[in-house]
Assembly symmetry: C2
Homo-oligomer: 303 residues x 2
Amino acid sequence: MAVPPSLKGLQAFEAAARTGSFAAAAEELSVSAAAVSQLIRTVEEQMGRKLFHRVNRRVVLTEAGVEMLPRLTMAFQEIGSVARQLGGDTFRPRLVVSVPPSMAMGWLSQRLAGFASSHGAVDVSLRGDDDPVPFDRELIDIRLSYGPHYREHPTEDIVQDAVYPVCAPGLADTIKPEGMASLPLIHTGWGPTGASFPSWHNWFEAAGIEPGRAAQRGLSANSSRAALDLAISGLGVALAQGIYCAEALEDGRLVRPLAQALELRQPYCLTIPERSARRDVVAAFRQWLIDECRRAVNSPALR
Amino acid sequence: MAVPPSLKGLQAFEAAARTGSFAAAAEELSVSAAAVSQLIRTVEEQMGRKLFHRVNRRVVLTEAGVEMLPRLTMAFQEIGSVARQLGGDTFRPRLVVSVPPSMAMGWLSQRLAGFASSHGAVDVSLRGDDDPVPFDRELIDIRLSYGPHYREHPTEDIVQDAVYPVCAPGLADTIKPEGMASLPLIHTGWGPTGASFPSWHNWFEAAGIEPGRAAQRGLSANSSRAALDLAISGLGVALAQGIYCAEALEDGRLVRPLAQALELRQPYCLTIPERSARRDVVAAFRQWLIDECRRAVNSPALR
DNA sequence: CGAATAGATAAGTTCAGCTTATCTAGATTG
DNA sequence: CAATCTAGATAAGCTGAACTTATCTATTCG
C-alpha cells in the first residue's frame, strides 16, 4: 500500500459491494453514480488491487473484494451507530455487563431495575457468558466471574462466598443431622468454568459425615439457578452459593437445615478493561455491583 | 444529528481522544494540529455536543466523548487492518472457523494442516466455542455444532454420528458382555450444550443390560477429548463419538470391546452465515470439512 | 521571568470529491 | 430487429471540506 486508502473510498466500496451496484450505492450515499465509480477506482489504484470485475454493465466482486466486505460492513455500521447515538438529542450511555449465565438469569437481572432507577438513562446490556470472555474482540465494560481469570486486565476481588445446604421449610422439619443420607440431595452440574465449585461430596467431607451412597443419589440440575428452584419447590436439599440463596432465606422460601457451610476456594472477581475504567457509568455500576454482592453474601441469614 | 458527521472528523476525534492530545493526533494522521482542531470542532457542531472539555491548554474528554472512544477505536482499527491486508502485495484470505471446544483441541487441529497444504495461503483462525456463538457480533465464517442451532442462518446436516464403547486393547481382553458391570467406566461430562448427548445409562438401556451400580461408578472427564485420552491410557471404557475415536480405532490404540453402538439424537450441523457463503475460501473449507467429518464417521473401524 | 508548549482562530490555498455531460455496450421491449 | 433503456466509465470542470501557515492566548516549566 503506497498510500493508505481514503475512508470515503472504502465507504463507497462497502456500499457498492453490499448493494451489488454502484447506482444503489450512490443513492445510499446521496451522491452521483460517477462519484462512486471514481472513488472505487481510486481505492483500487491506491491498493494496487481490483475490487470488482467489470463484466459488461455489471460489477462483480473479486475475491479480494468479497473477503473485505463483511469486515468493512461491520466497521461502518459501528461508526454509523456511534454517530446516531452521539447525534440523538438525548444521549444515553451504554453499558455492557457480562456475568456467569446463572447470575444473568436470576440474581442480577432482578436487581438491575434497582440500578436503572437510581442511575437513570443508561442502556444496560446484560450478558450471561462463561469464562473466558473475549475482551479483545468485544466491547465488554465489566465482567463478574468466579475466580481471577484475565491477568491482562485490572481485576479486583469482590467478596468471598460459601455454599450452604438449603431446602424448603417443610422439608427441613424431617431432617436430623445424621439423617442427611436419607434425604434427596440436589446436585448442581456447574458449567465448564466451575470445575472447582464444591460438590455434596466435599460438603460431607467438611461436615465430617460419612456420605455413604447419599452423596451420589438424587436430582441434579445444570445450573445454580435451576438447583435453587428445585430446592424452593421442596424437591430436596441443594448446595447453594450464599449470593444466590440469601434472598430466599431472608423471606422464608428457603431455610438452612444444617449450619455447616463450605467456603468457596476463590472469591468473586470483577474485571474492568482499562478502556472502560474511566467511564462514569462504569464506575457507578462497579460500585453498585460490589455493594449488591457484598450485601447478599453478608446477609444475616447466612451467619 | 442534522447532518451525519464526516468520517475524517470522527477519525480525528478518535486519534485525539486516544492519544489525549490534538498535537499527537495531528502527528499520527500526518496533518497539522490546526487541522485536527478544526475537524473536531466541526464534528462537535454537527453533533450538537461537545466531545472535549477545553481546560486551559489541555483537552479532557467529556462523558459523551469517553463513551464513544472505545467503539470508534475498534471500528477504525478494523478498517486499518482491512486496508493493510488489502494493500499487502501478497493477499492472504482469512477464515474464522468455530467448532465445539473438544473438537478444536484434538480432532480438527490435527487435520487442519491437511487443508492448509492443499489450499495454501489462507490464514485459518480456529476457535473452540460452545453454542450459541455470536454470529451477529463477530465475523465467524463457519460453525460446526452438534444439532441445529441458528435457525436464522443457513444450516445443513453433515453426518449422523453415534457413540461407541472404546478402551485400550489390553483392557478389552478381560471383558465379557455381561461383565461390563465390573469394569471401570469413563463418564464424560458434556459441556452446557451437550445436555442431549448419551450417557452410559442410555447405553446400558440400549444394550438391554441391567446397569446395576456400574453406570454410576468410575472415572469422569469433562470433555470428549479428555475421556478419550483416559481410555487410550487404559484407565477404563469410554463412550466416545465415532468422529473422535475412529482414528485411534484404525491404528489400534483403541478397540471396541462391545459392538453395541448408540446413535446420537442429532446430526452434526454446519452453519455458514449468508455474508460468508459466497467466499471461495469458505466454500472450499466447507467441502473439505464435510469430507473429513464423513470420512471419520464412516470409517470401516466403526462398522 | 522568559521560553516552550498546546490549543484556538483567521485567512488563504488546494485537491479530494463532486457534478454534469457524454460515451459504450449489453439488456429489454414493442 | 431496431428503439429504448440501463449501468457503468470517462472527461472536464467546479466546489468546498480539509488543509496550511501565521498569529494569538494561556499555561506550564526551568
